[in-house]
């Protein structure tokens, strides 16, 4: 092989290796994260969180404190590559769904953990916010990450079991 074709080969590898690594490690990490989410959600299943502004009157709620949970998450190279292909023709980008789902569930869990560790019984008026962090790479066009923030008011209450 001459120098030119070796260079081309190296260039192709430089693109393919991160994509392959992203696909393999990314899917393992995602799988593990989902498993840990399910486990932790089961532990906190009894802890109520709701988007209602007021708890039911029978709960005799008292005391309040702001609690929040946040997570910054990014998508792997493989998914980004496939997504950029889909964007040519348009349509549903399914692989981003799981990313956002993971992030929202994680943020909600962290909020609940904070409320529970501070001795509260429930979280009311839960709100979820999403913001995109501008990236320093590619003149700010590349997505560095998404931040999901979950916040609400933790209350002490008599929660019926």
């Amino acid at each position: 092989m001459d120098n030119g074709s070796i260079n081309i080969l190296i260039n192709i590898l430089m693109i393919l290796v991160p994509i392959m690594l992203g696909m393999i490690i990314g899917s393992i990490l995602e799988h593990n994260h989902f498993r840990s989410l399910v486990r932790r959600e089961r532990e906190l299943a009894e802890f109520p969180a709701m988007t209602l502004k007021k708890p039911p009157a029978s709960w005799e709620a008292s005391g309040a404190s702001l609690v929040s949970g946040s997570v910054v998450i990014s998508v792997d190279y493989f998914k980004r590559f496939i997504a950029s292909l889909i964007q040519i023709f348009g349509g549903r980008i399914g692989m981003y769904d799981s990313l956002l789902e993971r992030a929202r569930r994680e943020a909600l869990l962290r909020m609940k953990v904070q409320a529970k560790s501070q001795g509260y019984d429930a979280v009311i008026n839960v709100r979820l916010e999403t913001s995109r962090l501008a990236s320093a790479v590619y003149q700010g066009k590349g997505t560095a990450g998404l931040e999901i923030l979950a916040f609400g008011t933790a209350i002490k209450a008599k929660v019926p079991r």
Binding site: S65, A136, E147
Partner: protein, 105 residues
């Protein structure tokens, strides 16, 4: 101790005085060391812990400023707290917290 809440009223307490809108903000730039870690983490996807911490610290700072303002007014609670994030420049983000300072019984 100042009570913070994102509800319009605090359960079990009555609002007796309204002092007005209080806010706090902070602009943070990204840290180069965290940026390099994040770039590596970007390859495989998942949580960028450095950024999560960075934003959490910044939001706490914004909230502290908001609480300070409320205390100066003589309020003992801030209700209806809202957050907003905006990227003002490349690699810098503003975190903003605002609410209504009130007095509760």
């Amino acid at each position: 101790m100042l009570i913070l809440s994102n509800t319009e009223e605090i359960p079990g307490k009555k609002i007796v005085a309204i002092y007005g809108v209080v806010s706090g903000s902070t602009v943070r730039a990204k840290h180069i060391g965290r940026d390099i870690m994040a770039a590596l983490k970007n390859m495989v996807g998942g949580e960028l812990k450095g950024y999560t911490e960075l934003l959490q610290e910044a939001r706490d700072e914004a909230m502290r400023r908001m609480m300070q303002q409320a205390e100066e007014m003589g309020a003992n609670a801030v209700v209806n707290v809202r957050f907003s994030t905006s990227s003002v420049a490349q690699g810098a983000a503003e975190l903003f917290a605002y609410g209504t300072a009130v007095g509760v019984e």
